[in-house]
Amino acid sequence: MPPLSATATGSRAALDAAGITESDYLRFCEYFYRRTGIAFGDNKRYFVDKRLIERMHATGHGSFEPYFLSLRRFDAQAEIERLTNLLTVNETYFYREDHQFHCLSASILPEVTAGRRHGDRVRIWSMPCSTGEEPYSIAIHLLENWARVDDFNIEIIASDIDTKVLRSAAEGLYDARSLHRLPRDLVRRYFVTEGADRFRLIDAIRQSVSFTTLNASDPAAMRAYAGVDVIFCRNMLIYFDDKSRKQVVESFYDSLTEGGFICLGHSESMSRISPIFKARAFAQAIVYQKPGGPR
């Protein structure tokens, strides 16, 4: 077994020497898929091996087999979370997976607002919102792309369990990496440069979003969120076990208006979680809908 410093270099030779066989890799991928719904193909072998070895070293396991067995102990949840965090790309930026924002303006909102009157409320919920890129992207996208944006009172609620990221979100200060997907003209329109590599969102957008602290696994807290037309919940449920995942989507169901929509991350599928939502395949994206409401 190579020392940690050797594996940290990430060389193929060091990874091979760690002794994760093809069979080990397949077993782990099968296990991880069943647990999270995330599937790794052969092309992810290096990525997965490197992170497995990092956790094997950190937990004092000299080889794959005892580490893999340890993941199935009763008290393994914390380690599974650490490994999952390493194996999921936990990053966010403006206009990430923006095909869903196009779906929102071109397909979802026209359907949701059909029959609503001028000045009626439209409530959109971003959860988890992390440092604010997603809810602010929704606001910018709607201003730029939805012709009826001024016809309704649009509320954007953004929630996260982490109070630190919520403080950062409310501040609205970002670096260039967070903005790399935004067209330059939108950066100029909605941000003010602060220093060499810092961009502050203009007040009008910052003040359009209400940030709240929320633990999605707390049904009592979730019950307070009602009358929501569209939920963006992307790349959160993959961190939950089946029981929690189901509990959260049951809460989402109760929070949504009849005919309301939920947008999940690209690797997530409601059909693996609950049968009570209807899959809707729009031209821009597949999303999920609470049955009922005007069509």
Binding site: D24, D150, D241
Partner: protein, 212 residues
């Protein structure tokens, strides 16, 4: 301006109705009332029997899901015992709902119920019981898998046990799997499944077979 600030939601008040009143609402004519009643009983273990009793008669999928969800939240051996009989149901939705719920309840809570089901007279019930163990920690599932691999007379039940063993098994199952292959020597699909399981468990490279 298009955007308005939303009032930040606080905590919703706890249900005002008593447990008895909420249980009574499980039979309301309005499915929305029934669903809300079912959801509100998630923290009322005394309502577990009422929730389980309602499942079989409940035709609305959204309400049935809420009933299962609340039973899972309550959890424990009593709930597992209430749900286990649903694995015998002729209603596929009910069977699957019970199967998924038993998986979510966890090994410690449903172990006694599953111990009883893996020796059930019906191979269909035994097969579903094995599927529950797929969600268990390997060391807990393995004794049951071994018992079935060594003794169950039905080839499909053994096949299901081999499938779970492929995922969860340790080297302790290698010999029982080899014996199973010999016991059903005329069943090529089982031989193939056993070979895959043994290869995976032992870390051997498969000489042939489908590529993933």
């Amino acid at each position: 301006m298009a955007f308005v600030r939303a009032a930040v939601p606080g905590l919703a008040p706890p249900p005002a109705a008593t447990v008895e009143e909420r249980v009574a609402r499980l039979a309301d004519a309005d499915p929305t009332v029934r669903r809300l009643a079912a959801r509100s009983l998630a923290d009322a273990p005394v309502a577990a029997a009422a929730l389980a009793a309602r499942i079989e008669d409940e035709a609305d999928l959204r309400v049935r899901e809420a009933l299962f969800g609340s039973l899972v939240s309550i959890g424990g051996t009593d709930v597992a015992a209430l749900m286990a009989p649903f694995l015998r149901s002729q209603d596929a939705g009910l069977r699957n709902g019970a199967l998924e719920s038993l998986k979510q309840i966890g090994a410690e809570s449903c172990r006694a119920a599953i111990d009883a089901l893996v020796v059930d007279a019906s191979p269909d019930v035994r097969l579903l019981a094995i599927e529950v163990t797929r969600a268990w920690p390997g060391p807990l599932a393995e004794p049951l898998l071994r018992q079935l691999i060594e003794t169950d007379p039905h080839v499909n039940v053994c096949g299901a046990a081999v499938d779970v063993a492929t995922e969860l098994g340790s080297a302790a199952l290698l010999a029982p799997l080899a014996a199973l292959r010999a016991r059903f020597v005329d069943e090529p699909f089982l031989a193939f499944a056993v070979d895959v399981a043994r290869a995976r468990i032992a870390g051997w490279q498969q000489p042939s077979g489908p590529k993933r």
